[in-house]
Symmetry: C2
């Protein structure tokens, strides 16, 4: 087992005492409450179907309070998207930079990336499916982060091919397929469903390894 991200392969936001606390970097408290409310609302109804009154209401504040902490509704989406993409990229880069064979690193990458999309499917849904609602400038910034996520996975595949572990005729296409498979978890995953995030991660890691492993 690799320990690429420092503390025993964790993939959730945790403070030193082990308490799970996403969006901990957003301050002050009121700004975080608004942002968390926005994530829920955007994930449930989509960005365009969500009103600023709904967001403020979920946060227990008046509509005007939103504009003390954020210039526009789109800035809220951008902050969510930015933080989420940073996290996603970190997960993939940690796996790509880890030690072990290419197969072990690919297993870790898919496992943790899928687990994040399942555990944080509310956030992930916004991050992965509301890109089009961003302004031109913000979207460009986010697309660059996605390009780097793609590069991290492609690097693992290339390493595996070079080492003879993998048989992948079309590395860019397969990279796309692997990421696509993981991302789509955010669309269908249901917390009330039968599978836990860990189970989905294990299943998907197995399926992806079969896709790329050289037949003996």
């Amino acid at each position: 087992m690799s320990a690429a991200d420092g503390t025993a392969g964790q993939t959730t936001d945790e403070t030193a005492d082990g308490v799970d606390k996403p969006w901990g970097e957003v301050t002050p408290e009121a700004a975080r409450k608004l942002l968390v409310a926005a994530v829920e609302a955007f994930a449930e109804r989509g960005y365009h179907a969500t009103t600023t009154r709904d967001i403020a209401g979920r946060a227990g504040m008046s509509p005007a309070a939103l504009y003390i902490h954020y210039k526009t509704k789109e800035e809220l989406l951008h902050r969510i998207s930015r933080i989420g993409h940073d996290k996603a990229l970190k997960i993939l880069q940690a796996a790509a930079d880890g030690s072990g064979t290419a197969a072990e690193r690919l297993d870790g990458a898919v496992r943790s990336f899928v687990r994040w999309h399942a555990e944080r499917h509310t956030t992930a849904r916004v991050v992965q499916y509301e890109l089009d609602a961003l302004s031109e400038e913000h979207r460009t910034e986010i697309v660059e982060l996605r390009r780097r996520s793609d590069a991290a996975v492609r690097r693992i595949l290339n390493d595996g091919v070079k080492a003879g572990e993998f048989d992948v005729p079309d590395v860019p296409g397969t990279t796309l397929a692997v990421l696509s498979l993981c991302i789509d978890v955010a669309r269908w995953f249901n917390a009330q469903g039968r599978r836990t995030p860990d189970e989905v991660g294990a299943l998907y890691a197995d399926l992806v390894l079969r896709m790329v492993t050289a037949q003996k």
Copy 2:
């Protein structure tokens, strides 16, 4: 090769003279023009970000014209979603009902399903990603069609396991993954990109077969 939809396993909407003509079943002409305009607008901006004025404008008509042919904007989405899901289900059932080994049928299913999502990615984007905008009643109807699509793919996998062709420990989970992989093509496929729908179909069919084929 099966002939479930009449003429030699085709996956696009064609008239007898071979001309490609989707939405041919929508009449009269003005209603079809409005529907095609709605598909484009919904795919580009999303259902909620699209205005009835935009749809009518793209169709070269006044905003009020829309309400002669459709009761509400949501009815337009429902018609699109219904026709699209019928088509998707037909593609998968034709493949599942076809002759040949399970591997051949799975190859055909993925190939044609992916090709449809790529060729008709505008339509597919609306069909696959705007479900939440449907009314309760309409969504229930559509979800039933999706359940049947799922059943068609699961049947192929079960057949393959029974015949010893496939090694699939988790058939429902793998069914979900296969469909998820194909569906997500609608999200990322770009007509200006490097790959043709046929190429993506071939790549994906290969990847899926590797996921399920028993190792020798």
